[in-house]
């Protein structure tokens, strides 16, 4: 809110610090000041009043009270009128509040013989500085008093109130109102209104109606200064989608004890500026008077919480400067009475904040805590996550962070309609681009590839992040997904092997996946180039080429191979344990073996045969070449292995190795379609 420096100054006899200086003081001890701007002979301070201080500081008087505490100068309260005219307020209007919870207080006052005219220059200028338009002297005064005291006021033309009645009630179904700015609103039972004997004349706490508007002919003004339930105003304002200066203030709560002062202040100004005569008496529907709160402040606790000892005398001075009453200060526990305008203060910690900020946080010295030396707990989930990222990085993969949302279009690619229920939709997405929570990291990684392929053809990326799915509840889980551009299935498979090995996971194997029609997520994959990654009997993820249809849809110019691993499962299998395997002192012997097999034969079948036939003297079998070409017979491929023989307790004689090698050859040739090449 914008505050006028001159206006603030008008509450003080003593000079306030210069505008810039005052702004700095406010910033350190109260509120941030966005801007200090010189306008004519005034300075405007744009102050970010904290939301909990809206009740008392969304007004010049409130900021002046802060200035008073910070500069130790007394404040002069503005003049008010209690009415001295010959009429009585109750002769012109009666007030009926039907819901005391919705409207805890309603005060009304009448000013007669009013001359509605343009406002004086100074008043226009002050309103303008604070961003309000001048209407006429009566309406301007109501607004002026709101800016001054924080209490929204409303002025009705008494002659236009049917039955001379004001009724505070909830609107009826289908009731309508036209507001001062000629907008039409449909009301309902949730919206509190001010009505006359016939119909609503204002939306309570939000906006006045056109019907009893003050105009040039108005002679008798009924002023309203009321207190409304913040929740009801908030609800109503949201429902009809109308936010005003008044509704904003009522939403944040206002001291019910303020209504009287504000209405008297407005009456005084109307009398002064519009030649009105203030009627005697105040209509005041205020069944449950709000009394000041008492809070006990323990000075030992204050010291313990702030970490600094502030002398009792100084604490008392600070509290007094904020207009708090010290009821008892004999002991180390003070009894404080807090003025009702401080709606934000209810517990001792609230008072400690007041003491701390006025004392100045900059005066609190940094002190390291004295605590038991309890070492931090190791977080394994984070530990394995970081280790995984390191391994992938070292193997040449670059980490990306993508949005947690995916678009409607992406979801359509990902899943067929019958599975849409398994994804989680946002109630209020920013756009259709971000309508669903990502059920997989693959979709956004494909986007990354699509965007990067213009600049480079070497793309190896991964992401480790949360995915979301709906089972019975919303299920979120860490997922690890990597993608590589190009026909690189075996490179990525090598990556998975390396990763799992480094994470201490053995017994990894790959099972070709047979997709079933209802298993739609698998439709992301190329049906013939996809494997389940398994550790023992558990499936932990998939490795495969993305289906050409999808690649085409994402406008990617090359094949893409992806692994997609359930990180929650993976991290449970991780182990830091490594046991040293003694290195054999005896030399190893290497023999090569080439087998011609049908194209559809799996390497694993051949490997198994070699290992079984070879027995325990085989240390390793290494496939070093796979060849399919013109020179070979139709439908065949050539597999070439290095077989490494080694014993732990002796040097193998070449004769012994030859014997095993022959046994392997014989075993392989038992299959009529396999031919060992000699």
């Amino acid at each position: 809110m914008v505050f006028s420096y001159n206006w603030l100054q008008s509450f003080f006899r003593k000079r306030l610090p210069a505008p810039e200086k005052l702004a700095e003081l406010l910033e350190l001890c109260a509120f941030e000041v966005e801007e200090v701007k010189r306008v004519g002979g005034d300075w405007l301070l744009d102050i970010d009043v904290l939301p909990n201080r809206a009740p008392d500081c969304f007004s010049h008087l409130g900021i002046a009270r802060e200035c008073a505490a910070l500069t130790n100068s007394p404040i002069r309260k503005p003049s008010v009128s209690n009415g001295a005219g010959k009429f009585q307020t109750r002769d012109f209007v009666s007030v009926e509040v039907r819901d005391k919870d919705a409207c805890p207080r309603y005060t009304a006052k009448v000013v007669t013989d009013v001359k509605v005219a343009p406002s004086p220059k100074w008043l226009k200028a002050r309103l303008k500085s604070c961003g309000l338009r001048s209407i006429n002297n009566v309406v301007d005064i109501a607004n002026y008093v709101m800016l001054e005291t924080g209490q929204p006021l409303h002025a009705f033309d008494s002659g236009k109130l049917a039955g001379n009645k004001i009724i505070v009630r909830f609107a009826k179904h289908n009731e309508k109102i036209v507001t001062l700015d000629e907008e039409k609103y449909d009301l309902d039972e949730d919206i509190l209104v001010i009505a006359d004997a016939r119909s609503p004349v204002a939306i309570a706490g939000i906006k006045g109606g056109k019907l009893p508007e003050i105009d040039k002919k108005t002679k008798v003004v009924v002023l309203e200064s009321a207190s409304f339930n913040p929740r009801i105003i908030r609800k109503g304002s949201r429902k009809i989608n109308l936010k005003t200066d008044a509704s904003w203030r009522f939403e944040h709560g206002i001291d019910p004890n303020l209504t009287e002062f504000a209405i008297n202040r407005a009456a005084f100004l109307i009398q002064k500026l519009a030649k009105g005569k203030v009627a005697k008496g105040l209509i005041d529907a205020y069944p449950n008077k709000v009394l000041p709160k008492r809070i006990k402040l323990d000075l030992d606790y204050t010291e313990r919480l702030l970490g600094i000892k502030i002398p009792k005398r100084e604490v008392i001075e600070i509290l007094k400067s904020l207009e708090f009453k010290i009821l008892n200060s004999k002991f180390n526990i003070l009894t404080i009475e807090v003025p009702t305008f401080r709606l934000d203060l209810t517990i001792p910690e609230d008072l400690i904040e007041e003491v701390g900020r006025i004392y100045g946080y900059q005066n609190i010295r940094a002190v390291f805590p004295t605590v038991s030396l309890i070492p931090p707990k190791k977080n394994f989930s984070v530990f394995w996550e970081e280790l995984t990222k390191n391994i992938l990085k070292e193997a040449g993969f670059t980490e990306v962070y993508n949005y947690s949302y995916v678009s409607e279009e992406q979801i359509a690619i990902y899943q067929s309609n019958q599975h849409k229920s398994a994804v989680i939709e946002l109630e209020n997405p920013m756009s259709t681009e971000q309508r669903y929570l990502r059920p997989s990291l693959i979709l956004n990684l494909l986007n990354n590839i699509q965007r990067n392929q213009r600049y480079t053809d070497e793309i190896k990326i991964f992401e480790l992040g949360k995915i979301f799915r709906k089972t019975k509840n919303v299920e979120e889980a860490k997922q690890l997904t990597a993608a590589i551009l190009g026909d690189e299935f075996y490179q990525l498979k090598g990556m998975v092997d390396l990763l799992l090995q480094k994470l201490g996971i053995s017994n990894v194997w790959y099972d070709s996946y047979q997709s079933t029609p209802e298993d739609s997520k698998i439709s992301m994959w190329h049906p013939k180039k996809c494997a389940e990654i398994k550790v023992d009997h558990e499936e932990i993820g998939f490795l495969g080429e993305i289906s050409p249809k999808i690649i085409d849809h994402f406008k990617i110019d090359n094949r893409v191979v992806v692994f997609d691993i359930d990180f929650e499962k993976l991290q449970k299998l991780c182990s830091e344990e490594t046991i040293y395997q003694p290195i054999s002192k005896y030399p190893a012997a290497v023999r090569d073996l080439a087998v011609l097999v049908p194209r559809g034969t799996k390497v694993e079948e051949v490997l198994n045969k070699i290992e079984v036939a070879g027995g325990k003297l085989i240390r390793d079998v290494d496939l070093f070449d796979v060849y399919e070409g013109e020179e070979l017979p139709e439908g065949k491929k050539n597999l070439a292995f290095h077989i490494i023989y080694q014993a732990e307790n002796r040097t193998l004689a070449s004769q012994e190795v030859d014997e095993i090698q022959n046994k392997i050859v014989k075993t392989l040739e038992q299959n009529p379609e396999w031919e060992v090449r000699k």
Partner: protein
């Protein structure tokens, strides 16, 4: 047995070594004299069949000759190597090295690690919590009641299933306190969401660092020391912090925390709008209601909590001017880290 004339052998060998024109030829000469069946080798082998007196004399001479010839060979070999080095072989050291491809960790990951490391060194445990959160932990438990304007401080994404996307990582504090009694020190860094338009400094998903320290007498002064130490270690500069009043429903008192401007060191410059300070985080002393809502007795415990943007720290550290780059997946950006 051949007649042994070691002197002749020496002369002959020396002459041949000197004449040798290349390494291949030299190796052959070596073989001729010192190889498995080399002339001198044969002499040495024949020693054991000699009479004792002669054996000692010849043996000594033969071994001396062996040492002498080996030395000659080495010298000659070295002269060859030196000659090649001098004449033929050279490399262009200005040619670029062979490219090795390492991958890259995302800058947010790198900064997250650094933050965690500093806090872990001060005894803080790293904890995590869910991104899809319920109203209780995201708001109510943190003393942000329903239908209260304080909720407007957080623009929230709601899910059709009743949950919401957490607007901060503070709910993790409440979850942790439910299961663990003070004294405690935790730090949590995670993804958060705000329903707001995206621009160079705002993203609808971002990362927040949240910290909590609670005990019998953890104070504002302690907060100041811990956070000042954090910033000094993070930026590796002797920075100071200052606190200004603020409002968060879950802390009381609440602060806005500023740090000495890194650009001007506090003198005032355009980066800090001439104030000498940069806004870094929101913080405060945990509100008694939050302890209560987490099942702890606020009479027994007090402590501080703070929240800070990881994205902002990352952007400051690497001078990144647009937050959206962090979520772009652009390899031209990511490969710089």
């Amino acid at each position: 047995m051949p007649k042994i004339n070691l002197k002749l052998l020496k002369k002959q060998a020396q002459r041949e070594i000197n004449r040798a024109g290349d390494l291949k030829f030299l190796n052959e000469i070596f073989k001729k004299y010192l190889g498995k069946r080399g002339e001198l080798t044969l002499v040495l082998r024949s020693l054991e069949r000699m009479p004792k007196a002669k054996r000692a004399k010849v043996g000594k001479e033969a071994n001396e000759l062996k040492t002498f010839l080996r030395e000659k060979f080495e010298q000659k070999k070295f002269s060859f190597a030196k000659a090649t080095e001098d004449k033929e072989e050279w490399i262009d050291v200005t040619r670029p090295g062979k490219k090795l491809t390492l991958g890259h960790l995302h800058p947010l990951t790198q900064v997250k690690r650094k933050v965690e490391e500093i806090f872990q060194a001060m005894g803080f445990s790293v904890v995590e919590g869910p991104e899809a959160e319920n109203e209780w932990y995201n708001f109510d438990a943190l003393n942000i009641p329903k239908d209260h304007p304080a909720r407007d401080m957080w623009d929230t994404f709601y899910l059709k299933d009743g949950l919401l996307l957490r607007t901060h990582t503070t709910p993790v504090d409440a979850r942790y306190m439910e299961k663990n009694n003070p004294p405690l020190r935790i730090i949590t860094i995670g993804r958060c969401f705000r329903h707001e338009a995206t621009d160079a400094s705002h993203e609808s998903n971002f990362y927040q660092i949240d910290g909590l320290m609670a005990g019998k007498d953890i104070s504002v002064a302690n907060f100041k020391a811990i956070i000042q130490e954090f910033f000094q270690r993070f930026f590796e500069k002797p920075v100071e912090i200052r606190m200004r009043p603020s409002y968060f429903p879950f802390t009381e008192p609440s602060f806005e925390v500023d740090m000495t401007c890194l650009v001007c060191g506090g003198k005032g410059c355009s980066a800090c709008q001439q104030t000498g300070w940069m806004e870094m985080m929101g913080a405060g002393m945990m509100h008694p209601n939050v302890f209560k809502n987490s099942g702890l007795n606020p009479k027994n415990w007090q402590g501080f909590a703070f929240g800070m943007g990881l994205d902002r720290l990352t952007m400051m550290k690497y001078k990144i001017n647009d937050i959206r780059l962090l979520y772009s997946g652009d390899l031209r950006f990511l490969k710089q880290f």
